[in-house]
Amino acid sequence: MYLKKNCIAMLLAGGQGSRLGVLTKRMAKPAIPFGGKYRIIDFPLSNCINSGIDTVGVLTQYQPYVLNSYIGNGQPWDMDRIRGGVSILPPYVRGKDGEWYTGTANAIYQNINYIDMNDPEYVLLLSGDHIYKMDYDRMLREHVANKADATIAVLEVPMQEASRFGIMNADEDGRITEFEEKPKHPKSNKASMGIYIFTWKKLRHYLELDEQDPNSSKDFGKNIIPRMLADGQRMMAYNFSGYWKDVGTIDSLWEANMDLLKPNLLNLHDDGWRIYSRTPAQAPHYVGSDATVENSLLTEGSVVNGDVRDSVIFHGARIAKGAVVRKSIVMPDAVIGEDAVVEYAIVGENAKVGAKAVIGGPPRQGDPQIAVVGPDITVEDCAIVKPGEMMSADVAAR
């Protein structure tokens, strides 16, 4: 029998992440490598443990193997606990029935037993595709002080971009009066971050209600939140300020990595708020006699003999002599051959870029077009991958 937990987290990690194309072909979005030594899921997991939340259910569905083995027993995040810790929650068969998670709300509904077993007062709902540092405990304390039924974290975005987000309109006390999904004419710039705290008894009720509604798409944003608002439940906005980025697309994934190279956007040196990760045991990285490295991140196990600038190089990656890497992300164990040129590109895990190959290029005008070489793909010597192209099969020389 579990003893009571005050607040547990449910982390939605089952989305297909189709907008990330070949990068999510063999792994769920939260498992995508990020920032040199992390995977996306390290951020919400580390935020949890740093906020004093040691019980996290990770809801998986799509391509879960990489994610499952990465999370393991949760030890890197200090979540190998006698009570609580991290639990992987795939869909399972109950009695005669069994179905996939049909929506975010349905995913939580199917795990009501897991939550009841922990018997929490509050449930924190998180997504596995955001990069940010946040103290959930502060948000929880506000939720409790406000006697709220739900608290939704919001971020002020530039007004002209507000129509890309779910916008929360709140009164001066922070009580949410209206929720608009991607409004054409936004009334405020408070964008939902996809981070919710619910009083569990309330949420449980609405999950059951929603499950019985045949017209519901079983989604938090589309169904649960509007219904709770319509019923006049006490819904509060929690203002977050700081770095936050949704990395659901190639462009935003690339941008978020580049953001790490800018000072003062997201400080990962913070001793009081470490981002933990499961790291392979590798030697410190080596920079060779002919190499140049500037404005970049490098991590253990990588070997650089080429010319690297404005880039993020992951563990075990190798950049050969004469190779030029600019504004790019080279993921774990990828190899960049001699004299290859990689610009404005993402080179996937374990991909091989041959000698003198050319991947991507600088933008002629407007936004950069990021070239992507998928995981395990081989690009032959002298082959070319044009800006904006995404390679999901081996590339021969043209």
Binding site: L268, H269, P284, Y286, N295
Partner: protein, 369 residues
């Protein structure tokens, strides 16, 4: 592997100077993110030895902090795993230092006697190498040896080292305090022996007040026991002087050494994980032929160096042929050549410190220069 291991990590060594003022040679930081004992511990787990005792005596705070419960080496187990063997109260607690391995083994005898493994691997915690003890045991069993002594061919013997004379694989003489000219079969202070035989030999030797395994057990039994040598042909160096320490770090800049030690199919070298972010190279960074650990922030010039975790090299600073240990800072415009900067030290703006290749300048832990 049907063996338990004993790692001797108690010895001190004056030749390591300030590096061992507050730690034993086994817990000296090396290679940017390791401690010397990581090699011994990783070699055990990579050889499928899952019961490991570490013998400590003084100065073991730093070692204990590092190894913890052995989790990082996969040695935190319900059954067996890692055992720290501090001096036992019942064993002559007036003695300040162990006189030799026989004293140390006598103190650890309860641990050894309670084990059920057939063999014992004995090793110092001061060697940097990646060795497969399963291969050594295979030879030990095949040759039906009583004791197998691991050695390397080397001409860098120093006073106090032990060398073997061999006929075929059999050891016929033990040269103590060798310092002999030319290439020798230098002892690596690593042995395989049957557990029960070790118990008997140590008990006998202790009763006679004998101290040294090499002198009082190996040499005395050359004619009565089958004592064989095993030549380790890979990279192996002992951290036994400041010069050796410098050299081993510099050797790690060579690709073949790095590959053998850290990318060996035999297994990886594990260490305590610190969760530092990747190293940041800022504008103006110029790094050549160097090993750089996570958490570093580099704005200056670095050549032929090993930078440990969380080191900062300021703008316009020039650092060459040096080792900078964890969390130390070299501020702007400072100039360092042939320097070892221990942990948490600060080299102030504009300072110049020049050592020599065989006489590096040593900046102690936490110093501000």
């Amino acid at each position: 592997m049907n063996a338990l291991a004993i790692i001797f990590a108690y010895a001190n060594n004056d030749k390591l100077k300030e590096l061992t003022e507050k730690r034993t040679p086994a817990s000296v930081p090396i290679g940017g993110r390791y401690r010397v004992v990581d090699f011994a511990l990783s070699n055990m787990i990579n050889s499928n030895i899952t019961k490991v005792g570490i013998i400590t005596r003084n100065n073991y705070q730093s070692l204990m902090d590092h190894v913890g419960n052995g989790k990082e080496w996969d040695l935190s187990r319900k059954r067996d795993g890692l055992y720290i063997l501090p001096p036992y109260a019942q064993y002559d607690s007036n003695m300040q230092e162990y006189g030799g391995w026989i004293d140390a083994l006598s103190a650890a005898m309860t641990f050894i006697r309670r084990s059920r493994e057939k063999y014992v691997v004995l090793t110092t915690g001061e060697y940097v190498c990646n060795i497969d003890y399963e291969e050594v045991l295979a030879q030990h069993e095949k040759s039906e040896a009583d004791i197998t002594c691991i050695y390397r061919r080397d001409d860098r013997g120093t006073t106090g080292d032990i060398a073997y004379t061999l006929e075929g694989d059999r050891i016929t003489d033990v040269l103590l305090g060798a310092g002999v000219e030319g290439e020798q079969n230098m002892s690596m202070d690593m042995f395989i022996i049957e557990r029960q035989m070790l118990e008997n030999l140590v008990r006998e030797a202790a009763m006679r007040g004998q101290k040294s395994l090499a002198r009082d057990i190996i040499r005395r039994h050359l004619n009565t026991l089958k004592i064989f040598g095993y030549e380790f042909k890979g990279y192996a160096r002992r951290v036994d002087s400041v010069q050796a320490y410098m050299q081993i770090n510099m050797d790690m800049l060579q690709e073949d050494v790095r590959e053998e030690l850290f990318n060996n199919p035999n297994g990886r070298i594990y260490t305590k994980v610190r969760d530092e972010m990747p190293a940041q190279y800022l504008e103006g960074a110029r790094v050549r032929n160097s090993l750089v650990a996570d958490g570093c922030i580099i704005e200056g010039e670095v050549e032929n160096c090993v930078l440990a975790r969380g080191v900062r090299i300021g703008k316009g600073a020039k650092v060459s042929n040096s080792i900078i240990l964890q969390k130390s800072e070299v501020l702007a415009e400072a100039h360092l050549e042939h320097v070892i900067v221990d942990k948490d030290a600060i080299v102030r703006t504009g300072r110049t410190l020049i050592g020599r290749e065989n006489l590096p300048v040593l900046i102690g832990k936490g110093m501000v220069i």
